[in-house]
């Protein structure tokens, strides 16, 4: 797979960012195919009532200036040996709302608790069918008003894919990173990874359809700015 990198890393001595923060933007080159209406969702007796209008797939969320949303950006290599950070005590939350996973793409630290909620007034099953790295899989039902279920993914895995088989268009993705230094791009493709110690790193960019990118970056005390682009042919 061939990727085009529009820009190499730029190192800015801006005082507008926190020291050690990596900010950037991910864009898409080319024109992705149009999103499709999720017809089965609208046709479903429960789900059709749970949404206010047509719902489309979210394969490519493209915003201003070709910014690409839902890209998981993480530190793939370069952290000092033995580098450790506290696993966040707060839970990362994945919800099921209107027969969709919300957020569609999220991140969590390996070992952090991920709380899986069902805000819909009917049942979903939550199926993590296959792990590439040996995280325990599961498939459980979550009915109306069911308590949230906590899950922990001990190993880095990008992505953990959740799906509901009762409503087979429902997919949700969790980027599990070994460090807390990750981000998910917003609808305009922008992201910020906070608190990276100064040093040279390889950043990984993962998009559901676009695939994988990597990019070298040198972070100084003043931070760094990165730009990357997925080339959709």
């Amino acid at each position: 797979m061939k990727y085009t990198f529009l820009l190499s890393s730029l190192f800015l001595g801006s005082t507008a960012v926190l020291a050690g923060d990596v900010t950037g933007k991910v864009t898409v080159k080319g024109t992705p195919a149009a999103e499709r209406p999720i017809a089965p969702l609208m046709a479903d007796a429960n789900c059709g009532k749970a949404v206010s209008g047509p719902v489309n797939t979210r394969h490519y969320v493209v915003g201003a200036d070709s910014g690409l949303g839902n890209v998981f950006v993480y530190v793939k290599a370069g952290l000092p040996e033995g580098y450790k950070t506290e696993v966040p005590a707060t839970k990362a939350v994945m919800d099921q709302v209107g027969c969709l996973y919300e957020p569609y793409v999220m991140g969590a630290v390996a070992g952090q608790t991920v709380e899986i909620r069902n805000s819909d007034p009917f049942l979903h099953n939550v199926n993590f069918m296959k792990s590439a790295v040996g995280n325990p899989t599961f498939n459980f039902a979550q009915g109306k008003g069911a308590k949230p279920v906590d899950k922990v993914f001990a190993k880095e895995e990008v992505f953990v894919k959740l799906q509901c088989n009762v409503h087979p268009w429902m997919f949700g993705y969790i980027g599990v990173s070994s460090s807390p230094h990750f981000a998910v791009t917003d609808k305009d493709g922008k992201f910020t990874i906070k608190g990276l110690p100064a040093g040279k790193y390889t950043l990984g960019f993962k998009h559901l359809k676009g695939g994988d990118l990597t990019q070298e970056v040198e972070v100084k005390d003043s931070g760094a700015t990165v730009a990357a682009a997925f080339d959709v042919k």
């Binding site: 429960n46 797939t57 394969h59 069918m129 296959k130 087979p168 695939g211 959709v232």
Partner: protein, 349 residues
């Protein structure tokens, strides 16, 4: 009884196809229970979305199990032919294994077996055995039918040229095709090749990494969102080439039948019709991006094509071997049952 059981089996196969087409095979995550309930008492108001299809599949399959046991018991008691009794009990064994495979496909979904994901391993076995089991029931329906004992319907070839091997070869090819099809469906990756008659605009698609990258970037499925792999594309193409080969084969069979035994033309033409219908359904399945109802019809007609092929092959073999003449009429309550035409018939008809 055998005919009814076979028709019921076709219903189960079709609903199973619908479950796979809709991608809801895991909508009920437990087995043999259904969300913790005894499956026969699962509350109807919880049959939502994919649960409905998967749960109905389980229920009608349970009925099929009961029907198969009844059929075997009937054959045991009413049919004198030992090999028919054995086939009846073989069907019971098969339906039990089939049920267990269906359950394992659910509960061992995430477990690798021989390096193959459980969802694929058990799913393919489950789908393949379904077709073979259906064919076995069709054989039972044929050999217990009145026509089986009617000489005029199963006269050996007038020319003495054996046609049975050709029928059998085509039936074997159909089995191979359905195994490939089952493997395709249980990849759970949607359409590996989205155009027809060309494949990604070519006679045979490229599968190099760059091409695949581009293909996967543009796959915009609603249900099947997994990236397609070279293996899946090759499997899909094998299915297409096998389909062409089978249609050519059945056309060749027409010629041979016309030449050596025209009395069998109607039988072989029905098979040709089924193959033709199946081919068209396959094309439409691609053109509609695997619409669930059409994909399911493709599964059902595939099963019928195989079953019909097995039925005519068995009948043809029997005719050519002269085994029909050696039939043993069965007795029931001390009398031989008669068909309307006066031919002895099996009681399990």
């Amino acid at each position: 009884m055998a005919v009814f059981t076979a028709v019921w089996a076709l219903l189960v196969v079709s609903i199973g196809g619908l479950v796979t087409s809709k991608g809801v095979g895991m909508a009920v995550p437990d087995w043999p229970t259904t969300y913790g309930y005894n499956m026969f008492f699962f509350p109807f108001d919880q049959w939502d979305g994919g649960i409905f299809h998967e749960h109905v599949h389980r229920l009608v399959a349970s009925v099929l199990g009961g029907l198969t046991i009844l059929l075997a018991a009937f054959l045991q008691g009413l049919d004198r032919r030992r090999w028919v009794k054995v086939l009846g009990w073989a069907a019971v064994v098969a339906v039990v294994i089939q049920g267990v495979l269906g359950g394992k496909r659910v509960v061992l979904n995430s477990v690798d077996v021989l390096g193959i994901p459980g969802s694929i391993f058990f799913g393919v076995l489950h789908a393949a055995l379904a077709q073979l089991f259906f064919s076995l029931l069709i054989v039972l329906a044929v050999v217990t039918s009145g026509r089986w004992f009617s000489r005029s319907a199963v006269e050996p070839s007038a020319s003495g040229r054996p046609l049975a091997p050709w029928f059998a070869l085509l039936a074997a090819g159909t089995i191979l095709q359905l195994l490939v099809a089952a493997s395709m469906r249980h990849q759970h990756a949607g359409l590996a090749v989205p155009d027809f008659p060309l494949a990604y605009g070519r006679v045979y698609p490229k599968t190099d990494p760059m091409t695949l990258e581009s293909v996967n970037q543009r796959r915009m499925g609603v249900v099947d969102d997994a990236p397609v792999t070279p293996f899946q594309i090759h499997l899909h193409m094998a299915h297409r080439f096998l389909a062409v080969g089978l249609v050519a084969g059945v056309l060749l069979l027409q010629r041979k039948v016309s030449r050596f035994d025209p009395t069998w033309r109607p039988a072989s033409r029905v098979w040709l019709g089924l193959f033709g219908l199946q081919f068209v359904l396959g094309a439409i399945t691609v053109w509609t991006n695997k619409a669930a109802d059409l994909a399911t019809a493709h599964v059902a007609v595939g099963a019928m094509t195989l079953a019909y092929g097995v039925a005519v092959s068995v009948t043809r073999f029997a005719a050519e071997r002269g085994s029909i003449r050696a039939f043993q009429p069965c007795e029931s309550s001390g009398r031989i049952l008669k068909s309307p035409a006066g031919s002895p018939v099996a009681a399990a008809r």
